[in-house]
Amino acid sequence: MTGADIAVGAAVPHLERTITLTDMVAYAGATWDWHRMHYDPDFLTAKGFPGPVVDGQVFGALLAEQLQDWLGPRAVLRTLDFRFKNLVFAGETVRCTAQVTAVEPDPDGDGELVTVASTVEVIGPDGEALRTAVTPAGATVAVRR
């Protein structure tokens, strides 16, 4: 991460993640949320779900990670928002994309405030987009000098 490409229109490097049932069980434990929709075949069959449902809030974690990885330890997330469009199921792969929409002096710090617009899509084996999981989404990040 160099910060050299922090400019309006710059694309944030994609973050792709296959979310396995094992990941989901770990997430359920880490968040103290053991809802059966995330792992229980009997519950899922009764409710008509085709598979274990990924907890949507994990996409917030991925969007934050994507930005923090790009901007490095000088970056501090100020805001993050996301709306869910479609469910994601165990074993599917998601791709987080983001683009810089504004860069301005940080009114509350000595650096810059970077605004991005993001999307999370479910992708197929060749990287093709299958459906949108999250949109719109966005964040503001303070980057200290």
Binding site: R17, D23, A26, Y27, G29, A30, T31, W32, D33, W34, H35, R36, M37, D40, F43, D55, G56, Q57, V58, G60, A61, L62, A64, E65, Q68, D69, P73, R74, V76, L77, R78, T79, L80, D81, F82, R83, F84, R144
Partner: protein, 167 residues
């Protein structure tokens, strides 16, 4: 005329629920969450690295507080859910999450003892593009530490959509 937003529901706008964690967040909880979401940022696990970058200790990944139910005392319900719920009675609807909007304050750390204050801030009835009634419930959760410092504000929407387009 409201199909879903009854007077009884409307009367609950402004209702508040407060939870205080029985223990500090803890170093293990921070590392566990980072491992679970696949985030290897050393700010969350390496104290000396965190100190080199201006923090007193490791910090929690920013979204952890909004996602963990650690602050809730008690046992999971029959579906395995432990987290906050308003238990709203909206008959003949299916509830889905709409989204979240976070504003981050001071980063949480291992010694943080979280208090989460949830408030129902709005209920609005609308119709879907197919004319199906839906009730949008907006809640705000404010997370503070044991010193009263604001860590996070989480605005969450829950959408109750009428089943079959009728009550």
């Amino acid at each position: 005329m409201s199909a879903l937003l009854t007077d009884a529901l409307r009367a609950r706008i402004g209702e508040r629920a407060v939870y205080t964690a029985p223990e500090p967040l803890g170093r293990a909880a921070i590392r566990y969450y980072a491992v679970a979401v696949g985030d290897d940022n050393p700010l969350y696990t390496d104290r000396s690295y965190a100190r080199d970058h201006g923090y007193e200790d490791v910090i929690a990944p920013p979204t952890l507080l909004a996602e963990t139910n650690q602050y809730v005392l008690g046992c999971p319900d029959g579906d395995g859910y432990l987290g906050h719920s308003w238990h709203l009675d909206v008959p003949h609807t299916r509830a889905v999450r709409g989204g979240n909007a976070y504003e981050f304050g001071k980063p949480a750390g291992p010694d943080t003892i979280v208090t989460a204050t949830w408030t129902i801030t709005d209920m609005t009835e609308r119709t879907t593009s197919r004319g199906v009634p839906m009730l949008i419930v907006t809640s705000e959760a404010r997370y503070t530490d044991q010193h009263g410092e604001l860590l996070l504000t989480n605005v969450e929407t829950l959408i109750h959509t009428a089943l079959g387009g009728e009550r």
